[in-house]
Protein backbone atom coordinates (compact mmCIF):
# COMPACT_ATOMS: atom_id res chain seq x y z
CA UNK A 1 0.00 0.00 0.00
CA UNK A 2 2.90 2.33 0.71
CA UNK A 3 4.07 2.82 -2.85
CA UNK A 4 7.23 4.52 -4.08
CA UNK A 5 8.16 7.66 -2.18
CA UNK A 6 6.90 10.90 -3.67
CA UNK A 7 9.05 13.12 -1.47
CA UNK A 8 10.75 15.82 -3.51
CA UNK A 9 13.29 17.83 -1.52
CA UNK A 10 13.18 21.46 -2.64
CA UNK A 11 15.95 23.37 -0.89
CA UNK A 12 19.64 22.61 -1.07
CA UNK A 13 19.69 21.73 2.61
CA UNK A 14 16.74 19.36 2.23
CA UNK A 15 18.54 17.55 -0.60
CA UNK A 16 21.74 17.41 1.45
CA UNK A 17 19.91 15.98 4.47
CA UNK A 18 17.84 13.54 2.38
CA UNK A 19 21.05 11.79 1.27
CA UNK A 20 22.32 11.54 4.84
CA UNK A 21 19.30 11.07 7.13
CA UNK A 22 16.03 10.83 5.19
CA UNK A 23 13.89 11.72 8.18
CA UNK A 24 11.86 14.39 6.32
CA UNK A 25 11.18 11.78 3.63
CA UNK A 26 9.93 9.33 6.28
CA UNK A 27 7.64 11.96 7.78
CA UNK A 28 6.40 12.99 4.33
CA UNK A 29 5.63 9.41 3.31
CA UNK A 30 3.95 8.38 6.57
CA UNK A 31 2.11 11.55 7.58
CA UNK A 32 1.45 13.53 4.38
CA UNK A 33 1.05 11.39 1.29
CA UNK A 34 0.30 8.09 3.02
CA UNK A 35 -2.66 6.56 1.13
CA UNK A 36 -5.48 6.04 3.61
CA UNK A 37 -8.86 4.40 2.97
CA UNK A 38 -11.32 7.16 2.16
CA UNK A 39 -14.09 5.75 4.38
CA UNK A 40 -12.50 5.91 7.85
CA UNK A 41 -15.13 7.06 10.36
CA UNK A 42 -15.15 8.73 13.79
CA UNK A 43 -13.99 5.54 15.53
CA UNK A 44 -10.70 5.69 13.64
CA UNK A 45 -9.68 8.99 15.24
CA UNK A 46 -8.71 7.42 18.57
CA UNK A 47 -5.22 6.42 17.43
CA UNK A 48 -4.29 10.08 17.13
CA UNK A 49 -6.09 10.86 20.39
CA UNK A 50 -4.07 8.14 22.15
CA UNK A 51 -0.80 9.58 20.87
CA UNK A 52 -1.90 12.90 22.30
CA UNK A 53 -2.76 11.23 25.66
CA UNK A 54 0.68 9.62 25.88
CA UNK A 55 2.37 12.96 25.18
CA UNK A 56 0.25 14.71 27.84
CA UNK A 57 1.07 12.05 30.45
CA UNK A 58 4.80 12.23 29.71
CA UNK A 59 4.98 16.04 29.80
CA UNK A 60 2.87 16.48 32.95
CA UNK A 61 4.62 13.50 34.56
CA UNK A 62 8.09 14.96 34.03
CA UNK A 63 6.90 18.20 35.63
CA UNK A 64 5.31 16.41 38.59
CA UNK A 65 8.52 14.43 39.18
CA UNK A 66 10.28 17.76 39.76
CA UNK A 67 8.15 18.25 42.89
CA UNK A 68 7.24 14.74 44.04
CA UNK A 69 9.27 12.91 46.72
CA UNK A 70 9.33 9.10 46.48
CA UNK A 71 9.62 8.38 50.19
CA UNK A 72 6.99 6.73 52.39
CA UNK A 73 7.30 9.47 55.01
CA UNK A 74 7.19 12.38 52.56
CA UNK A 75 5.24 11.24 49.50
CA UNK A 76 1.73 12.11 50.70
CA UNK A 77 2.84 15.54 51.91
CA UNK A 78 4.73 16.24 48.69
CA UNK A 79 1.56 15.57 46.68
CA UNK A 80 -0.34 17.97 48.96
CA UNK A 81 2.42 20.50 48.37
CA UNK A 82 1.99 20.08 44.62
CA UNK A 83 -1.74 20.73 45.10
CA UNK A 84 -1.39 23.78 47.36
CA UNK A 85 2.02 25.45 46.93
CA UNK A 86 3.52 24.64 43.55
CA UNK A 87 2.49 27.22 40.94
CA UNK A 88 -0.24 25.58 38.84
CA UNK A 89 0.62 22.31 40.56
CA UNK A 90 -3.10 21.57 40.98
CA UNK A 91 -3.63 21.96 37.25
CA UNK A 92 -0.72 19.77 36.25
CA UNK A 93 -1.63 17.04 38.71
CA UNK A 94 -5.31 17.06 37.76
CA UNK A 95 -4.39 16.86 34.08
CA UNK A 96 -2.08 13.91 34.85
CA UNK A 97 -4.57 12.08 37.09
CA UNK A 98 -7.59 12.60 34.83
CA UNK A 99 -5.35 12.10 31.82
CA UNK A 100 -4.85 8.49 32.89
CA UNK A 101 -8.62 7.93 32.84
CA UNK A 102 -8.93 9.65 29.46
CA UNK A 103 -6.08 7.51 28.13
CA UNK A 104 -7.88 4.31 29.16
CA UNK A 105 -11.25 5.53 27.89
CA UNK A 106 -9.66 6.18 24.51
CA UNK A 107 -7.77 2.88 24.46
CA UNK A 108 -10.92 0.88 25.26
CA UNK A 109 -12.81 2.57 22.41
CA UNK A 110 -9.80 1.93 20.15
CA UNK A 111 -9.75 -1.77 21.14
CA UNK A 112 -13.51 -2.32 20.75
CA UNK A 113 -13.30 -0.61 17.37
CA UNK A 114 -10.52 -3.01 16.38
CA UNK A 115 -12.66 -5.98 17.38
CA UNK A 116 -15.82 -4.70 15.65
CA UNK A 117 -14.14 -4.02 12.32
CA UNK A 118 -11.84 -7.06 12.52
CA UNK A 119 -8.71 -4.94 12.47
CA UNK A 120 -6.76 -7.70 14.24
CA UNK A 121 -7.12 -10.10 11.32
CA UNK A 122 -4.54 -10.96 8.69
CA UNK A 123 -2.42 -9.18 7.66
CA UNK A 124 -2.63 -7.00 10.81
CA UNK A 125 -1.98 -9.57 13.58
CA UNK A 126 1.30 -8.00 14.64
CA UNK A 127 -0.27 -4.54 14.94
CA UNK A 128 -2.90 -6.07 17.22
CA UNK A 129 -0.39 -8.00 19.38
CA UNK A 130 1.74 -4.87 19.78
CA UNK A 131 -1.46 -3.09 20.81
CA UNK A 132 -2.18 -5.71 23.49
CA UNK A 133 1.40 -5.26 24.69
CA UNK A 134 0.92 -1.48 24.87
CA UNK A 135 -2.27 -2.04 26.85
CA UNK A 136 -0.43 -4.34 29.29
CA UNK A 137 2.31 -1.73 29.73
CA UNK A 138 -0.36 0.93 30.26
CA UNK A 139 -2.01 -1.04 33.07
CA UNK A 140 1.37 -1.57 34.75
CA UNK A 141 2.25 2.11 34.42
CA UNK A 142 -1.15 3.20 35.73
CA UNK A 143 -0.86 0.82 38.68
CA UNK A 144 2.62 2.12 39.61
CA UNK A 145 1.40 5.70 39.26
CA UNK A 146 -1.64 5.10 41.46
CA UNK A 147 0.63 3.93 44.29
CA UNK A 148 2.74 7.10 44.29
CA UNK A 149 0.42 9.49 46.24
CA UNK A 150 0.69 6.97 49.10
CA UNK A 151 -2.91 7.28 50.26
CA UNK A 152 -4.95 4.41 51.66
CA UNK A 153 -6.09 3.18 48.24
CA UNK A 154 -2.54 3.51 46.91
CA UNK A 155 -1.17 1.38 49.72
CA UNK A 156 -3.84 -1.31 49.77
CA UNK A 157 -4.07 -1.44 45.99
CA UNK A 158 -0.34 -2.08 45.92
CA UNK A 159 -0.72 -4.73 48.63
CA UNK A 160 -3.45 -6.62 46.78
CA UNK A 161 -1.81 -6.48 43.35
CA UNK A 162 1.66 -7.47 44.53
CA UNK A 163 0.10 -10.31 46.55
CA UNK A 164 -1.30 -11.68 43.27
CA UNK A 165 2.20 -12.99 42.62
CA UNK A 166 2.20 -14.89 45.92
CA UNK A 167 -0.45 -17.17 44.36
CA UNK A 168 2.24 -18.75 42.15
CA UNK A 169 3.16 -22.12 43.71
CA UNK A 170 6.58 -22.47 45.39
CA UNK A 171 8.32 -19.33 44.12
CA UNK A 172 5.35 -16.96 44.59
CA UNK A 173 6.04 -15.70 48.13
CA UNK A 174 9.70 -15.11 47.19
CA UNK A 175 8.62 -13.06 44.19
CA UNK A 176 6.29 -10.96 46.35
CA UNK A 177 9.11 -10.25 48.83
CA UNK A 178 11.41 -9.42 45.94
CA UNK A 179 8.86 -6.96 44.55
CA UNK A 180 8.40 -5.32 47.96
CA UNK A 181 12.04 -5.17 49.06
CA UNK A 182 10.63 -5.87 52.52
CA UNK A 183 8.07 -8.20 54.10
CA UNK A 184 5.21 -5.90 53.19
CA UNK A 185 4.59 -2.92 50.91
CA UNK A 186 6.76 -0.13 52.26
CA UNK A 187 9.32 2.53 51.48
CA UNK A 188 11.49 0.34 49.19
CA UNK A 189 8.35 -0.59 47.24
CA UNK A 190 7.35 3.04 46.75
CA UNK A 191 10.84 3.98 45.53
CA UNK A 192 11.04 1.27 42.89
CA UNK A 193 7.49 1.88 41.72
CA UNK A 194 8.39 5.51 41.13
CA UNK A 195 11.45 4.48 39.14
CA UNK A 196 9.37 2.10 36.99
CA UNK A 197 6.53 4.60 36.62
CA UNK A 198 9.03 7.01 35.09
CA UNK A 199 10.57 4.36 32.84
CA UNK A 200 7.54 2.57 31.35
CA UNK A 201 5.98 5.50 29.41
CA UNK A 202 9.15 5.71 27.31
CA UNK A 203 8.95 1.98 26.64
CA UNK A 204 5.30 2.50 25.66
CA UNK A 205 6.41 5.27 23.29
CA UNK A 206 8.86 2.82 21.73
CA UNK A 207 6.22 0.11 21.26
CA UNK A 208 3.82 2.73 19.86
CA UNK A 209 6.53 3.43 17.25
CA UNK A 210 6.52 -0.27 16.32
CA UNK A 211 2.69 -0.31 16.34
CA UNK A 212 2.60 2.55 13.81
CA UNK A 213 5.41 1.06 11.77
CA UNK A 214 3.51 -2.24 11.55
CA UNK A 215 0.36 -0.28 10.64
CA UNK A 216 2.11 1.39 7.71
CA UNK A 217 2.98 -1.90 6.04
CA UNK A 218 -0.54 -3.12 5.20
CA UNK A 219 -2.14 0.28 5.80
CA UNK A 220 -5.33 1.02 7.72
CA UNK A 221 -8.22 -1.36 7.94
CA UNK A 222 -11.56 0.42 7.36
CA UNK A 223 -15.22 0.10 8.39
CA UNK A 224 -15.98 -2.11 5.38
CA UNK A 225 -13.10 -4.40 6.27
CA UNK A 226 -12.22 -4.92 2.59
CA UNK A 227 -8.79 -4.37 1.09
CA UNK A 228 -7.83 -1.23 -0.79
CA UNK A 229 -7.89 -2.19 -4.46
CA UNK A 230 -7.11 0.99 -6.38
CA UNK A 231 -6.01 4.57 -5.79
CA UNK A 232 -9.70 5.59 -5.93
CA UNK A 233 -10.16 3.82 -2.60
CA UNK A 234 -7.74 6.10 -0.78
CA UNK A 235 -7.04 9.73 0.01
CA UNK A 236 -3.74 11.20 1.23
CA UNK A 237 -3.40 11.24 5.01
CA UNK A 238 -2.82 15.00 4.87
CA UNK A 239 -4.98 17.05 4.82
CA UNK A 240 -7.93 14.60 4.93
CA UNK A 241 -7.16 12.71 8.10
CA UNK A 242 -4.94 15.26 9.81
CA UNK A 243 -7.95 17.58 9.78
CA UNK A 244 -10.44 14.88 10.77
CA UNK A 245 -8.20 13.69 13.61
CA UNK A 246 -7.60 17.26 14.75
CA UNK A 247 -11.32 18.03 14.85
CA UNK A 248 -12.16 15.04 17.03
CA UNK A 249 -9.06 15.65 19.13
CA UNK A 250 -10.41 19.10 19.95
CA UNK A 251 -13.76 17.59 21.00
CA UNK A 252 -11.88 15.07 23.11
CA UNK A 253 -9.84 17.82 24.75
CA UNK A 254 -13.06 19.67 25.63
CA UNK A 255 -14.41 16.50 27.26
CA UNK A 256 -11.09 16.02 29.07
CA UNK A 257 -11.05 19.65 30.25
CA UNK A 258 -14.57 19.32 31.70
CA UNK A 259 -13.21 16.77 34.15
CA UNK A 260 -10.01 18.70 34.89
CA UNK A 261 -11.80 21.97 35.62
CA UNK A 262 -15.26 20.98 36.84
CA UNK A 263 -15.01 17.48 38.33
CA UNK A 264 -11.30 16.92 38.95
CA UNK A 265 -11.91 14.38 41.74
CA UNK A 266 -14.54 12.44 39.77
CA UNK A 267 -12.30 9.40 39.21
CA UNK A 268 -10.45 9.66 42.53
CA UNK A 269 -11.47 7.49 45.50
CA UNK A 270 -12.02 9.78 48.53
CA UNK A 271 -10.27 7.14 50.62
CA UNK A 272 -7.01 8.02 48.86
CA UNK A 273 -7.00 11.42 50.57
CA UNK A 274 -6.14 9.57 53.80
CA UNK A 275 -2.42 8.86 54.25
CA UNK A 276 -1.43 5.19 53.92
CA UNK A 277 -1.91 3.16 57.12
CA UNK A 278 -0.44 -0.38 57.06
CA UNK A 279 -2.69 -1.47 59.96
CA UNK A 280 -6.12 -0.45 58.62
CA UNK A 281 -7.57 -1.78 55.39
CA UNK A 282 -10.39 0.41 54.05
CA UNK A 283 -13.77 -1.32 54.30
CA UNK A 284 -14.24 -1.30 50.55
CA UNK A 285 -11.21 -1.24 48.33
CA UNK A 286 -11.56 -0.81 44.61
CA UNK A 287 -9.03 -0.25 41.84
CA UNK A 288 -9.35 2.60 39.35
CA UNK A 289 -12.39 2.23 37.07
CA UNK A 290 -10.40 1.02 34.10
CA UNK A 291 -9.25 -2.09 35.96
CA UNK A 292 -12.64 -2.96 37.50
CA UNK A 293 -13.61 -5.66 34.95
CA UNK A 294 -10.46 -7.62 35.70
CA UNK A 295 -10.91 -7.07 39.43
CA UNK A 296 -14.44 -8.50 39.16
CA UNK A 297 -13.04 -11.58 37.42
CA UNK A 298 -10.48 -12.03 40.20
CA UNK A 299 -13.18 -11.83 42.85
CA UNK A 300 -15.59 -14.11 41.03
CA UNK A 301 -13.25 -17.11 41.31
CA UNK A 302 -13.24 -18.65 44.80
CA UNK A 303 -9.69 -19.99 44.45
CA UNK A 304 -6.63 -17.77 44.87
CA UNK A 305 -4.38 -19.19 42.14
CA UNK A 306 -7.23 -19.75 39.67
CA UNK A 307 -8.51 -16.22 40.25
CA UNK A 308 -5.12 -14.77 39.39
CA UNK A 309 -4.78 -17.02 36.33
CA UNK A 310 -8.24 -16.06 35.05
CA UNK A 311 -7.42 -12.38 35.42
CA UNK A 312 -4.12 -12.75 33.59
CA UNK A 313 -5.70 -14.92 30.88
CA UNK A 314 -8.35 -12.26 30.25
CA UNK A 315 -5.72 -9.84 28.96
CA UNK A 316 -3.41 -12.37 27.30
CA UNK A 317 -6.35 -14.02 25.48
CA UNK A 318 -6.92 -10.83 23.50
CA UNK A 319 -3.62 -11.50 21.73
CA UNK A 320 -4.89 -14.78 20.22
CA UNK A 321 -8.06 -13.24 18.69
CA UNK A 322 -6.51 -13.25 15.18
CA UNK A 323 -6.37 -17.04 15.36
CA UNK A 324 -9.54 -17.92 17.27
CA UNK A 325 -11.57 -15.89 14.76
CA UNK A 326 -12.19 -18.15 11.78
CA UNK A 327 -14.26 -15.75 9.67
CA UNK A 328 -12.86 -14.52 6.38
CA UNK A 329 -14.92 -11.35 6.63
CA UNK A 330 -13.36 -8.65 8.80
CA UNK A 331 -16.04 -6.09 9.51
CA UNK A 332 -19.03 -6.86 11.73
CA UNK A 333 -21.09 -4.76 9.30
CA UNK A 334 -21.26 -7.86 7.15
CA UNK A 335 -21.43 -10.36 10.01
CA UNK A 336 -25.07 -10.39 11.16
CA UNK A 337 -24.50 -12.98 13.92
CA UNK A 338 -21.14 -11.83 15.21
CA UNK A 339 -22.46 -8.30 15.48
CA UNK A 340 -24.80 -9.42 18.28
CA UNK A 341 -22.10 -11.38 20.07
CA UNK A 342 -19.86 -8.33 19.84
CA UNK A 343 -22.38 -6.09 21.61
CA UNK A 344 -22.94 -8.79 24.25
CA UNK A 345 -19.15 -8.74 24.75
CA UNK A 346 -19.20 -4.97 25.28
CA UNK A 347 -22.09 -5.46 27.72
CA UNK A 348 -20.22 -8.22 29.57
CA UNK A 349 -17.23 -5.90 30.02
CA UNK A 350 -19.48 -3.11 31.34
CA UNK A 351 -21.30 -5.52 33.68
CA UNK A 352 -17.96 -6.79 34.99
CA UNK A 353 -16.91 -3.20 35.58
CA UNK A 354 -20.11 -2.56 37.54
CA UNK A 355 -19.67 -5.75 39.62
CA UNK A 356 -16.05 -4.89 40.35
CA UNK A 357 -17.08 -1.55 41.84
CA UNK A 358 -19.58 -3.07 44.29
CA UNK A 359 -18.85 -4.58 47.71
CA UNK A 360 -17.97 -8.26 47.58
CA UNK A 361 -21.28 -9.46 49.06
CA UNK A 362 -23.52 -7.03 47.13
CA UNK A 363 -26.74 -8.15 45.44
CA UNK A 364 -28.83 -6.69 42.62
CA UNK A 365 -32.58 -7.50 42.70
CA UNK A 366 -31.73 -10.28 45.13
CA UNK A 367 -29.13 -11.87 42.83
CA UNK A 368 -25.63 -12.05 44.35
CA UNK A 369 -23.38 -9.95 42.11
CA UNK A 370 -20.66 -12.54 42.37
CA UNK A 371 -22.83 -14.84 40.22
CA UNK A 372 -23.49 -12.05 37.73
CA UNK A 373 -19.72 -11.52 37.53
CA UNK A 374 -19.18 -15.26 37.04
CA UNK A 375 -21.59 -15.36 34.13
CA UNK A 376 -20.01 -12.28 32.56
CA UNK A 377 -16.51 -13.75 33.02
CA UNK A 378 -17.69 -16.95 31.38
CA UNK A 379 -19.09 -14.99 28.43
CA UNK A 380 -15.85 -12.97 28.12
CA UNK A 381 -13.86 -16.14 27.52
CA UNK A 382 -16.62 -17.80 25.52
CA UNK A 383 -16.56 -14.83 23.14
CA UNK A 384 -12.82 -15.02 22.54
CA UNK A 385 -12.62 -18.79 22.09
CA UNK A 386 -15.72 -20.84 21.04
CA UNK A 387 -17.89 -18.00 19.75
CA UNK A 388 -15.16 -16.47 17.59
CA UNK A 389 -14.31 -19.94 16.34
CA UNK A 390 -17.74 -21.41 15.59
CA UNK A 391 -19.58 -18.28 14.47
CA UNK A 392 -16.81 -17.72 11.93
CA UNK A 393 -17.36 -21.25 10.61
CA UNK A 394 -21.16 -21.28 10.42
CA UNK A 395 -22.21 -17.67 9.85
CA UNK A 396 -23.31 -16.55 6.39
CA UNK A 397 -21.88 -13.07 5.89
CA UNK A 398 -23.72 -10.41 3.92
CA UNK A 399 -22.32 -9.70 0.42
CA UNK A 400 -19.27 -7.45 0.45
CA UNK A 401 -19.10 -4.35 -1.77
CA UNK A 402 -16.80 -4.61 -4.74
CA UNK A 403 -14.61 -1.75 -3.55
CA UNK A 404 -14.39 1.04 -1.00
CA UNK A 405 -14.89 3.65 -3.73
CA UNK A 406 -18.01 1.92 -5.04
CA UNK A 407 -19.50 1.69 -1.58
CA UNK A 408 -18.68 5.29 -0.68
CA UNK A 409 -19.77 6.82 -3.97
CA UNK A 410 -23.00 4.84 -3.96
CA UNK A 411 -22.69 3.13 -7.34
CA UNK A 412 -24.79 -0.01 -7.09
CA UNK A 413 -24.92 0.03 -3.26
CA UNK A 414 -24.01 -3.53 -2.48
CA UNK A 415 -23.30 -2.62 1.13
CA UNK A 416 -26.42 -2.35 3.22
CA UNK A 417 -25.81 -0.47 6.47
Amino acid sequence: MSGPSTYDPKSGFAKWLDQRLPLPRLMHDTMVTFPTPRNLNFWYTFGGILTFCLAVQIVTGIVLAMHYVANAELAFASVEKIMRDVNYGWLIRYVHANGASMFFLAVYIHMFRGIYYGSYKAPREVIWILGVLIYLLMTATAFFGYVLPWGQMSFWGATVITNLFSAIPVIGPGIATWLWGDFAVGDPTLNRFFSLHYLLPFIIAGVVGLHIWALHVPGNNNPLGIDVKSPQDTVPFHPYYTVKDAFYLVLFIIFFACFVFFEPEFFNAPENNIPADPLVTPAHIVPEWYLLPFYAMLRSVPDKLLGVLVMGAAIISLAVLPWTDTSRVRSCRFRPTMKWFFWFFVAACLILGYCGAQPVDATLFGIPLVWVARLATLYYFAFIYPIMFFVGLFETPKPLPASIAQSVLGEKPAAAE
Binding site: W156, T159, V160, T162, N163, L164, S166, T177, W178, L179, W180, G181, D182, F183, A184, G186, P188, R192, P278, L279, V280, T281, P282, A283, H284, I285, L298, R299, V301, P302, D303, K304, L305, G307, P359, V360, D361, V370
Partner: protein, 189 residues
Protein backbone atom coordinates in the same frame (compact mmCIF):
# COMPACT_ATOMS: atom_id res chain seq x y z
CA UNK B 1 42.10 -33.00 4.41
CA UNK B 2 39.11 -33.97 6.43
CA UNK B 3 41.39 -34.15 9.47
CA UNK B 4 42.63 -30.59 8.92
CA UNK B 5 39.14 -29.20 8.68
CA UNK B 6 38.11 -31.19 11.70
CA UNK B 7 41.14 -29.91 13.63
CA UNK B 8 40.46 -26.31 12.66
CA UNK B 9 36.82 -26.76 13.58
CA UNK B 10 37.69 -28.17 16.97
CA UNK B 11 39.97 -25.27 17.85
CA UNK B 12 37.40 -22.74 16.74
CA UNK B 13 34.66 -24.64 18.49
CA UNK B 14 36.73 -24.59 21.66
CA UNK B 15 37.27 -20.84 21.45
CA UNK B 16 33.63 -20.30 20.56
CA UNK B 17 32.31 -22.38 23.47
CA UNK B 18 34.91 -20.97 25.90
CA UNK B 19 34.13 -17.34 25.05
CA UNK B 20 30.43 -18.09 25.04
CA UNK B 21 30.68 -19.64 28.50
CA UNK B 22 32.72 -16.73 29.83
CA UNK B 23 30.19 -14.35 28.33
CA UNK B 24 27.34 -16.21 30.03
CA UNK B 25 29.19 -16.03 33.37
CA UNK B 26 29.74 -12.30 32.86
CA UNK B 27 26.05 -11.72 32.05
CA UNK B 28 25.07 -13.71 35.15
CA UNK B 29 27.53 -11.79 37.31
CA UNK B 30 26.03 -8.52 36.10
CA UNK B 31 22.42 -9.66 36.37
CA UNK B 32 22.71 -11.10 39.89
CA UNK B 33 23.33 -7.82 41.78
CA UNK B 34 20.77 -6.09 39.56
CA UNK B 35 18.12 -8.63 40.62
CA UNK B 36 19.29 -9.08 44.19
CA UNK B 37 19.22 -5.34 44.97
CA UNK B 38 15.45 -5.57 45.01
CA UNK B 39 15.30 -8.13 47.83
CA UNK B 40 15.01 -6.96 51.47
CA UNK B 41 18.25 -5.50 52.80
CA UNK B 42 19.97 -6.82 55.90
CA UNK B 43 18.33 -4.04 57.88
CA UNK B 44 14.90 -5.27 56.86
CA UNK B 45 15.88 -8.89 57.44
CA UNK B 46 17.05 -8.29 61.01
CA UNK B 47 14.42 -10.09 63.02
CA UNK B 48 12.64 -7.83 65.42
CA UNK B 49 10.69 -8.93 68.46
CA UNK B 50 7.70 -7.03 69.71
CA UNK B 51 6.40 -6.97 73.26
CA UNK B 52 2.70 -6.47 73.88
CA UNK B 53 1.02 -5.47 77.13
CA UNK B 54 -2.21 -7.48 77.18
CA UNK B 55 -3.47 -6.43 80.61
CA UNK B 56 -6.01 -3.95 79.25
CA UNK B 57 -7.60 -6.22 76.63
CA UNK B 58 -11.11 -7.27 77.68
CA UNK B 59 -12.75 -10.60 76.76
CA UNK B 60 -14.21 -10.36 73.26
CA UNK B 61 -11.80 -7.59 72.33
CA UNK B 62 -8.80 -7.57 70.04
CA UNK B 63 -5.89 -5.19 69.57
CA UNK B 64 -3.88 -4.80 66.38
CA UNK B 65 -0.17 -4.32 66.86
CA UNK B 66 2.50 -3.70 64.24
CA UNK B 67 5.04 -6.49 64.03
CA UNK B 68 7.72 -6.44 61.31
CA UNK B 69 5.74 -3.80 59.48
CA UNK B 70 2.59 -5.89 59.35
CA UNK B 71 -0.55 -6.05 61.49
CA UNK B 72 -0.85 -8.74 64.14
CA UNK B 73 -4.09 -9.63 65.92
CA UNK B 74 -4.07 -10.27 69.68
CA UNK B 75 -7.59 -11.37 70.59
CA UNK B 76 -8.94 -12.28 74.03
CA UNK B 77 -11.62 -14.81 73.27
CA UNK B 78 -14.83 -15.30 75.21
CA UNK B 79 -15.72 -18.84 76.39
CA UNK B 80 -18.37 -19.01 73.68
CA UNK B 81 -15.80 -18.15 71.00
CA UNK B 82 -13.37 -20.78 72.29
CA UNK B 83 -16.21 -23.28 72.36
CA UNK B 84 -17.26 -22.58 68.79
CA UNK B 85 -13.64 -22.87 67.61
CA UNK B 86 -13.16 -26.21 69.37
CA UNK B 87 -16.26 -28.05 68.24
CA UNK B 88 -15.38 -27.68 64.54
CA UNK B 89 -14.61 -30.90 62.70
CA UNK B 90 -11.04 -30.36 61.43
CA UNK B 91 -11.64 -32.65 58.45
CA UNK B 92 -14.27 -30.20 57.15
CA UNK B 93 -11.88 -27.22 57.05
CA UNK B 94 -10.63 -25.84 53.71
CA UNK B 95 -7.10 -25.70 55.18
CA UNK B 96 -6.46 -28.63 57.52
CA UNK B 97 -3.06 -27.46 58.76
CA UNK B 98 -2.39 -25.52 61.95
CA UNK B 99 -0.07 -22.96 60.24
CA UNK B 100 1.61 -22.40 63.58
CA UNK B 101 5.28 -21.40 63.31
CA UNK B 102 5.91 -23.03 66.67
CA UNK B 103 4.43 -26.40 65.62
CA UNK B 104 5.26 -29.06 63.11
CA UNK B 105 4.27 -28.07 59.56
CA UNK B 106 1.94 -31.08 59.32
CA UNK B 107 0.12 -30.37 62.60
CA UNK B 108 -3.67 -30.49 62.09
CA UNK B 109 -5.70 -27.29 62.37
CA UNK B 110 -7.28 -27.99 65.75
CA UNK B 111 -7.82 -24.93 67.88
CA UNK B 112 -5.47 -26.43 70.49
CA UNK B 113 -2.68 -26.41 67.90
CA UNK B 114 -3.18 -22.70 67.21
CA UNK B 115 -3.03 -21.23 70.70
CA UNK B 116 -0.82 -21.38 73.80
CA UNK B 117 -3.54 -20.33 76.23
CA UNK B 118 -7.09 -20.92 75.05
CA UNK B 119 -8.20 -17.41 75.99
CA UNK B 120 -5.54 -15.70 73.86
CA UNK B 121 -5.45 -16.01 70.08
CA UNK B 122 -2.39 -14.43 68.44
CA UNK B 123 -2.50 -14.52 64.64
CA UNK B 124 -1.16 -12.54 61.72
CA UNK B 125 -3.51 -9.78 60.53
CA UNK B 126 -2.61 -10.42 56.91
CA UNK B 127 -5.32 -12.17 54.90
CA UNK B 128 -3.74 -15.16 53.16
CA UNK B 129 -5.54 -14.26 49.96
CA UNK B 130 -4.13 -10.91 48.87
CA UNK B 131 -2.84 -9.32 52.06
CA UNK B 132 -5.66 -7.11 53.31
CA UNK B 133 -6.36 -6.75 57.03
CA UNK B 134 -9.60 -8.63 57.87
CA UNK B 135 -12.23 -6.89 60.02
CA UNK B 136 -12.86 -8.41 63.46
CA UNK B 137 -16.30 -9.72 64.31
CA UNK B 138 -17.84 -8.62 67.62
CA UNK B 139 -21.31 -9.37 68.98
CA UNK B 140 -22.24 -5.74 68.33
CA UNK B 141 -20.84 -5.67 64.78
CA UNK B 142 -20.79 -9.24 63.41
CA UNK B 143 -18.53 -9.90 60.44
CA UNK B 144 -18.96 -13.04 58.39
CA UNK B 145 -20.75 -16.23 59.34
CA UNK B 146 -18.22 -17.73 61.75
CA UNK B 147 -17.68 -15.01 64.34
CA UNK B 148 -13.99 -14.53 63.61
CA UNK B 149 -12.95 -12.11 60.89
CA UNK B 150 -14.22 -11.11 57.47
CA UNK B 151 -11.87 -9.74 54.86
CA UNK B 152 -13.79 -7.03 53.00
CA UNK B 153 -11.46 -7.03 50.03
CA UNK B 154 -12.54 -10.35 48.56
CA UNK B 155 -14.84 -11.91 51.15
CA UNK B 156 -12.63 -14.43 52.98
CA UNK B 157 -14.40 -15.55 56.18
CA UNK B 158 -12.33 -16.68 59.17
CA UNK B 159 -13.56 -18.39 62.36
CA UNK B 160 -12.71 -17.64 66.00
CA UNK B 161 -9.49 -19.59 65.65
CA UNK B 162 -8.42 -17.56 62.60
CA UNK B 163 -9.04 -20.53 60.28
CA UNK B 164 -10.34 -19.91 56.77
CA UNK B 165 -13.93 -21.17 56.44
CA UNK B 166 -15.11 -19.74 53.13
CA UNK B 167 -13.88 -17.36 50.44
CA UNK B 168 -10.80 -17.24 48.24
CA UNK B 169 -8.07 -17.32 50.94
CA UNK B 170 -6.08 -20.57 50.65
CA UNK B 171 -4.65 -20.77 54.19
CA UNK B 172 -5.53 -20.15 57.83
CA UNK B 173 -4.21 -16.92 59.36
CA UNK B 174 -0.60 -17.64 60.32
CA UNK B 175 0.30 -18.05 63.99
CA UNK B 176 3.69 -16.44 64.70
CA UNK B 177 6.22 -17.61 67.28
CA UNK B 178 5.34 -15.93 70.57
CA UNK B 179 5.58 -16.58 74.31
CA UNK B 180 4.00 -15.42 77.52
CA UNK B 181 6.52 -13.41 79.54
CA UNK B 182 3.96 -13.05 82.32
CA UNK B 183 0.17 -13.18 82.59
CA UNK B 184 -0.07 -9.65 81.21
CA UNK B 185 2.77 -9.57 78.68
CA UNK B 186 3.61 -11.49 75.53
CA UNK B 187 6.63 -11.33 73.29
CA UNK B 188 6.16 -11.91 69.56
CA UNK B 189 9.03 -13.06 67.36
Amino acid sequence: MAGTIKDAGTRRDFLYVASGAMGAVAVGAVAWPLIQQMNPSAAALALATTEVDISTIQPGQQVIIKHRGQPLFVRRRTPAEIDSARKVNVASLPDGLARNAAKDASAPATDENRVIRAEWLVVSGVCTHLGCTPAVSTPAVPQGAHGGWLCHCHGSDYDTSGRIRSGPAPENLAVPVYSFMSDTRIQVG
